[in-house]
Amino acid sequence: MVVTLDAPSRLPSPSADPRKAERTPRKRVVRWWIYLALLPLAIIIGYFAYYPAVSAIFWSFFHWQPAAESTFLGFGNYVTMFNDQIWWLSFRNLGFIFAFAVVSWILPLLAAELLISLRSIRWQFTMRTLLIIPMAFPGVVTALVWGFFYSPNDGVINQTLKALGLGALAQNWTGQNSTALLSLLFVGFPFIAGLPFLIFYSSLQNIPTEVLEAAQLDGVGRFARFWQIDLPLMASQVRILLFLAVVGTLQYGFVAYVLTQGGPDNATMVPILRMINVAFSGGDWGYSAALSTTLFLITIIISAVVVMARKRGSDTTDGGAM
């Protein structure tokens, strides 16, 4: 709209420092107040988002002692990382968590399909509201209540099993290797209240009625409709969800912290917890910075791959992966 200082495309590089513009004399008026208005944004993301990331990369090459002299290690911390059994174990757990998360979408998908098939609008609204209420509760509350369910002695699950005469099945759910991780993953069962459900439901709602009517004329039944219309039309949304699931999985941690602290015997260890333990319990800040940098790079790489795939895919397959 307003006077253009310069067309961005003619600049030598779009990444030139904006403040340079003020110093170099130009014919047109430099709107200095634009930069003043963006200054708070630049300061806060620069100092509290970019600077920490960069400093983590820097310090990951040191035996970092925040309070004392740090010594340069080169790639020492990364070598330690490659030999760190617990670190790799935590990624194996992440893989399991991710697979579980994706498979568990069956339930929200089922709920969304059932919901969209209801004829009464009022029923649809009521059931949708009931199904998403758990989203309103803080995650910690959900985790703690589930922890209460799992507790070995007074836990609801064990007591219920005993009441049903199945006392032999009672377990120390979160306290033994074989069940700990699965127990964590079942927190929040049946996983309906969440983004996948909302996205499935809204994309089902957005399917044009003409398509459905045409299908009905052709005699396409409910199950055939699911495979031939609903799923293909949701393909692009599912791709977004997959990306979010990857990023979400990498951040998985607080449920594990609250319920098991990564134990027993690291059976529920995840990278975030490992990173925190190394720094706060082990005092090895440089190594922790190396782990942090690794996580950061993994996220960036995955994001870049997804953005690229989306760009390429959107021309050809968007919504039409039939």
């Binding site: 709209m1 200082l5 961005p8 600049l11 904006p18 513009a21 107040w33 634009i34 208005a37 708070p40 944004l41 806060i44 993301i45 509290f48 988002a49 970019y50 600077y51 920490p52 990331a53 400093s55 983590a56 925040p66 059932l114 098939s117 209801l118 009464s120 009931l130 199904l131 998403i132 209420i133 989203m135 309103a136 509760f137 803080p138 910690v140 959900t142 703690l144 209540v145 369910f149 007074d154 209240a193 983004l195 909302l198 052709d218 396409v220 055939a224 031939q228 977004i240 990306f243 951040q251 607080f254 912290y257 975030i272 925190i276 720094a279 910075a289 996580l295 960036i300 994001s303 989306r310």
Partner: protein
């Protein structure tokens, strides 16, 4: 290939079943399944509510049933311990919201309405952060805050929430402002409005829904964040809800009634916001999805 089979199957089905009654019975079974799903989803929360009124004795007698008399004093006990956490969370959320809305609305407005050197660069820098979870910065940010001597203050909590919120806020506001018709701004300019005036009188009133969405996202972020307050706050008087609850749980492991009452009290503010403003809430949740805007 499967099309034909499926079509045959449906034809066969619609022939064998008279339409009216089968449709109604199918609706009923749909409703039944949905009700079961909703009941299972809500069971932990119902359990929490029911238990919050019990003494340990009542709890041992019956797990799921409501048993009388109801013990409201559990809530008084829990409130005394939970109230400071709720207060801290509210303060941190309020300050973060004010800062986020201020910074993000100005930046979003400028980025959407003006062309200048470095515009693409600045917006790109914001977009990249959208992809990077704040948790990756946990360790270095902790040291920065420690060096600044900010541990155990409200500020140390406010800053990362603001930094995170400003990123999403700037993106949402910029996209929204780009959607406001240019004619509105032209008209304001003809009337002699300055940039600041257009921000205040044209853009702000129009973008109230987006601002509300951002505020709600921030509240829920502050309420739910766990690791950051866990690491930077050791003073119990400054703990926010999520970490406070974990501490509270440790204090009341054996008093199930007050324990559950505390969980419920800690959830209520969010649940209320969610109930009354669910439209904005859901817009916010889905607005955070890259690619949908």
């Amino acid at each position: 290939m499967t099309t034909i089979q499926a079509r045959k199957a449906t034809v066969a089905r619609s022939v064998t079943r008279p339409d009216g009654r089968s449709r109604r019975s199918r609706q009923i079974s749909l409703k039944t399944i949905l009700i079961v799903l909703a009941a299972v989803s809500l069971a932990p929360y119902l359990f929490m509510i029911v238990t919050s009124f019990k003494t340990n004795q009542q709890f041992a007698d019956s797990f799921w049933q409501i048993s009388f008399p109801l013990h409201f004093e559990n809530y008084a006990v829990a409130w005394n311990q939970i109230a400071p956490y709720l207060f801290n969370t509210a303060v941190v959320a309020a300050v973060s919201i004010v800062l986020i809305l201020l910074i993000a609305s100005i930046s979003g407005f400028v980025l959407a309405r003006y062309r200048f050197l470095g515009r693409g660069f600045i917006y790109g820098a914001v977009l990249v952060l959208m992809m990077v979870p704040g948790l990756a910065n946990l360790i270095p940010l902790f040291i920065i805050m420690k060096d600044l001597g900010l541990l155990n203050t409200y500020i140390v909590l406010v800053i990362p929430y603001t930094a995170g919120g400003v990123v999403l806020g700037t993106i949402l506001i910029r996209n929204f402002v780009e959607g406001i018709p240019q004619t509105l701004f032209d008209a304001a300019r003809l009337d002699g409005a300055s940039g600041a005036r257009m921000y205040r009188s044209v853009m702000l009133p129009l973008s109230l829904p987006v601002l509300g969405t951002i505020a709600l996202i921030t509240v829920s972020e502050v309420w739910n964040d766990f690791f950051w307050p866990l690491l930077v706050i050791s003073d119990n008087n400054l703990r926010t809800v999520s970490v406070g609850l974990q501490f509270f749980q440790g204090q009341n492991v054996t008093d199930y009634g007050p324990l559950m009452a505390g969980y419920l009290l800690a959830s209520l503010p969010l649940v209320f916001l969610f109930t009354f403003l669910s439209k904005y809430f859901l817009a916010g949740v889905q607005g955070g999805v890259p690619g949908t805007h």
